[in-house]
């Protein structure tokens, strides 16, 4: 993800797969429909979201605002890079 080649959209998401309960809020309320369910289950038996269409992700963090489980958030590459630099 940090690899520049992989940078397709304007942003990306970070998912805590094991915390996700598969409610699909993030998927349904992503303005660009960039997310989809993973085919895998997590340990609790839930499907978690993956960035199926990374091109479409704007890093707007709408997914993060909706997630009731704090299991996902989005960020813009711009901001990620800044953070990285600041480290």
């Amino acid at each position: 993800m940090s690899d520049d080649q992989q940078r397709k959209g304007r942003g990306t998401v970070f998912v805590k797969e094991e915390v996700c309960k598969g409610c699909s809020y993030c998927i349904d309320f992503c303005p660009t429909h960039a997310l989809e369910f993973a085919r895998e289950f997590n340990a609790k038996g839930y499907h978690y979201p993956v960035l199926g269409r990374p091109d479409d992700c704007t890093g707007c963090d709408n997914c993060g605002l909706y997630c009731p489980d704090f299991a996902i958030y989005g960020a813009r590459w711009k901001d990620i890079d800044e953070k990285k630099k600041a480290k």
């Binding site: 309960k21 340990a43 609790k44 038996g45």
Partner: protein
């Protein structure tokens, strides 16, 4: 004074309690035995682990808890991990073959048998009847209760209009169990 102790484990929403309840009802009402069912939710009721303890006995049942079951009926990996250590030496494990992977974690001398209950249920058109498949499987493998008793208990317990589907699920599990049991 034959007494069989059973633990049914799985996740909330899988119909774990109903599964235990049908076994108990078959024994207590239609099978001429005594039965006690204890439901255990976690402290937080919903969404998490869920299990039932069923004691089936020829005599009046005193202590109602199942500490070391003779039989485990398991529908989730979490339940498997949690309950296997409690199993009586030489006990029996019945599990949902797609959700539970025993992976060599079974104690010696234990008989373990899987059933693709979810798949069976989906084939019958409703994933929800997976617990009834498990009941049938239990009845088929263990032979603890007459099939008719279990059948009646299922009919008593399921919502009106779903009888046929549930009986099919029961039969499916039962037959699969009979085969395995042999």
């Amino acid at each position: 004074m034959a007494k069989t102790e059973i633990r049914v484990g799985g996740l909330g929403g899988q119909g774990v309690i109903l599964c235990g309840s049908i076994i108990g009802k078959a024994a207590a009402i239609h099978g001429g035995k005594h039965a006690t069912l204890i439901q255990a939710f976690g402290p937080e009721a919903r969404g998490s682990a869920c299990s039932a303890q069923v004691t089936v006995s020829d005599d009046v049942i005193g202590y109602p808890y199942v500490k070391n079951p003779d039989i485990l009926v398991l529908m989730s990996q979490d339940a498997f991990n949690q309950f296997i250590p409690q199993l009586k030496p030489g006990g029996m494990v019945l599990y949902e073959a797609e959700l539970v992977k025993p992976d060599g974690k079974l104690p010696e001398g234990v008989r373990a048998m899987g059933v693709p209950a979810t798949r069976f249920a989906e084939e019958l058109g409703r994933r929800l009847v997976l617990n009834i498949v498990m009941v049938g499987f239990f009845a088929g493998v263990t032979g603890l209760l007459p099939f008719e008793a279990v059948e009646k208990a299922v009919l008593d317990s399921v919502p009106r209009g779903t009888e046929e589907l549930n009986l099919k699920a029961l039969k499916k599990g039962y037959d699969f169990g009979r085969e395995q049991a042999v």
